[in-house]
């Protein structure tokens, strides 16, 4: 390491605070699961999230009983909250895969302390996302028609449709994310198996750790598989939101039919995903005393990713507006006019404020390193990204080619209950995850310590 590089390194906050050893890292992270009793705060938080989950089930139950007429979806807005929320949730998941796969390939070792719960976040977000298209099909008991399963009618799915591509992209994404998360957990489950005094827990963790014993041959294959999986997950995660954007871009609706959608959707996904990572990481590090492992460096780096992807999203908005003028297409031009002056204009301005203007505060180092400021800005970004999907979906559909088919969309209480319910389900899953599994990857943290270095 040359001196110039070193001075740059010294300037930064460390990835792990100094003074930790293999033993202290192991004890500190596994103690959260094994020794620390669940606090009252945990029970209150989990209880609230669980009640919201029950509300979700109630809303879905009533939906199955009455049909999608209970929602605000009406022609011409056939894609209301359900698709807005689907795209929002699946976008949030993207940061987890970016952190675990892309940053691994780029050798960004700071990712090691946040990849585990970011991957958990991905899984739970994809689970929330998956609910929406399934309950949106109208006859949810026939949702399996989406898959190419032989049936008595002898027909097959229509593979020329982007909606079919989406089915494959999202289900592959969910499967690969789950596998990636699980193989990352195996060595840590073995650690928990060896640390716990509880006989039943020992058996359960032992079963899920598959008898992992840390053999050098196993580690060698393990690392190869992990790296290959990261290499496979990288194009996958970029493809998922690209395919989601095809759901719109392949259609001819003004405001949808544009080639900027794939990169701008992917950037937006990572933008909202990092916002969610920060909204989870900031309270978790505070409550569980993990400031040594999730340091200022992690917060700053995440803020920088948000700033960069936010600017790409801003560029996307700019190109959308420019192309509607440059193309000379009157319907496209009207879409932009309608955003600025139509009935939903306040939502478009709110979107610009949340996604473009407020995040510029991240240029200020003081705010970038302040957990409270980051938490609030992340919240604003999550709202902004939800508004973006609302603007794209509802505002494009409510004013299309024929004035006779113009309309308005008013979400009902069932739409809201379903949306807020999925947030409860997401949080309930996060609460359980924190108590049952190590929230930080223990073995990858050990590998970051200076004493882990060997010379040949």
């Amino acid at each position: 390491m040359n001196d110039q590089y070193k001075s740059v390194e010294l300037d930064r906050a460390p990835v792990i605070e100094p003074g930790h050893t293999f033993g202290t890292v192991t004890e500190k992270i596994s103690a959260i699961v094994l020794n620390r009793p669940a606090s009252n705060g945990w029970f209150i938080g989990f209880g609230l999230a669980f009640m919201l989950t029950m509300m979700l089930l109630f809303a879905i139950g009533y939906l199955f009983l009455r049909g999608i007429g209970i929602w605000g979806n009406t022609v011409p807005i056939g894609w209301g909250f359900e698709i807005v929320n689907f795209v929002w949730w699946i976008g949030i998941g993207h940061a987890g895969t970016l952190i675990s796969a892309i940053l691994l390939l780029l050798r960004q070792s700071w990712r090691n302390s946040i990849n585990r719960f970011a991957e958990a976040m991905t899984l739970f977000a994809v689970a929330c996302a998956g609910i929406f298209p399934a309950i949106h099909v109208g006859r949810p008991w026939l949702a399996y028609w989406l898959f190419p399963i032989p049936n008595t009618m002898g027909v097959w799915p229509q593979f020329r449709s982007p909606l079919m591509w989406d089915v494959f992209a999202v289900s592959t994404y969910a499967t690969i994310s789950a596998l990636f998360w699980f193989i990352g957990l195996i060595p840590d489950l073995a650690t928990l198996r060896d640390r716990t005094d509880n006989k039943a827990l020992k058996i359960i963790y032992g079963m899920f750790s598959l008898g992992w014993r840390g053999s050098a041959r196993h580690w060698h294959r393990y690392e190869t598989a992990y790296l290959l999986l990261a290499g496979l997950a990288t194009p996958l995660v970029l493809s998922v939101h690209t395919v989601v954007s095809f759901d719109f871009a392949v259609g001819i609706v003004p405001g949808w039919h544009t080639t900027i959608f794939p990169p701008y959707f992917v950037a937006g996904a990572i933008y909202s995903g990092f916002a969610m990572v920060l909204m989870l990481a900031i309270p978790i590090r505070k409550i569980y005393g993990l400031e040594d492992f999730i340091t200022e460096r992690h917060l700053q780096n995440s803020a920088k990713v948000m700033l960069a992807t936010g600017l790409i999203v801003g560029y996307g908005y700019m190109i959308e507006a420019f192309m509607s003028w440059y193309s000379g297409d009157r319907y496209d031009a009207f879409t932009v006019w309608n955003r600025l002056h139509g009935p939903y204009a306040p939502m478009y301005y709110a979107l610009l404020i949340c996604n473009i203007f407020i995040p510029q505060l991240l240029w200020i180092k003081k705010l970038r390193t302040s957990p409270v400021a980051l938490f609030l800005i992340s919240g604003v970004i999550l709202v902004g990204m939800w508004l973006e999907r609302f603007v794209i979906i509802v505002m494009s559909l409510h004013r299309d080619f024929l004035t006779s088919s113009w309309g308005m969309y008013y979400p009902t209480r069932w739409d809201w209950m379903t949306y807020i319910g999925t947030m409860g389900m997401f949080l309930a899953a996060i609460f359980l995850f924190l108590r049952i599994l190590p929230a930080i990857s223990i073995f990858e943290m050990r590998a970051l310590l200076p004493e882990a270095e060997v010379k040949e």
């Binding site: 050893t21 293999f22 033993g23 192991t26 190419p148 002898g154 027909v155 097959w156 799915p157 229509q158 593979f159 020329r160 982007p162 591509w165 494959f168 992209a169 592959t172 499967t175 690969i176 596998l179 193989i183 060595p187 073995a190 650690t191 198996r193 060896d194 640390r195 079963m207 598959l210 008898g211 992992w212 014993r213 840390g214 053999s215 050098a216 041959r217 196993h218 580690w219 060698h220 294959r221 393990y222 190869t224 598989a225 290959l228 999986l229 496979l232 997950a233 996958l236 493809s239 395919v243 095809f246 073995f443 050990r446 590998a447 004493e451 882990a452 270095e453 060997v454 010379k455 040949e456």
Partner: protein, 178 residues
């Protein structure tokens, strides 16, 4: 065949560097059937105890190829052979539309092969293994490093191997009952 009551002799070390040096010395002393255990992956350790493996890569490659072919041929067969449907005048064999699902199936099959291939090649899941009989081995998942010479090694003899391992200055030495 009668099983040897002793599975091997295990030496415990404090640091990763110590383990990698000991593994190299043991390998150079002519021991073939050895293994090392560590709480995190150590670069180059696998080279000290065995030949380099490329088996996972091969499994993933085959999985990816099978996945891609499955994806494309499935779409071809369903849309061209089994139930051709005219959709907006597009050709039955609309290959550009088939690319996305072909890609996703490639990733899906390759990813599943990576995980299950790795586990199968490692012989996992394996709930029982003799090394767990050593009480101190529970630190192998925390902060200790272990080297084992299996009793099935040609050069293995209970006293001589023990003496050799003692020469590597380990923290403790234990016999592993099988």
């Amino acid at each position: 065949m009668k099983r040897d009551p002793i599975y091997g002799i295990m030496a415990e070390f404090d640091t990763a560097q110590h383990l990698i040096d000991a593994a190299r010395a043991t390998h150079e002393a002519g021991y073939q059937k050895i293994d090392a255990y560590s709480p995190f992956p150590i670069e180059g350790l696998a080279d000290e105890i065995s030949q380099d493996h490329h088996d996972v890569q091969l499994v993933v490659l085959i999985g990816g190829i099978v996945g891609g072919l499955t994806g494309y041929l499935m779409q071809y067969w369903m849309s061209v052979v089994d139930y051709p449907l005219n959709i907006g005048g597009k050709p039955y064999h609309s290959w550009p539309s088939f690319i996305v699902i072909t890609f996703e199936m490639t990733i899906l099959f390759a990813g599943i092969s990576a995980v299950f291939g790795m586990l199968a090649l490692n012989g996992l899941p394996m709930p029982y293994h003799p090394v767990f009989n050593v009480p101190r081995f529970s630190s192998a998942s925390k902060d200790r490093f272990f080297l084992i010479v299996f009793s099935s090694d040609k050069k293995y003899d209970p006293a001589g191997t023990r003496q050799f391992l003692e020469g590597l200055a380990p923290r403790t030495i234990s016999e592993v009952p099988s």
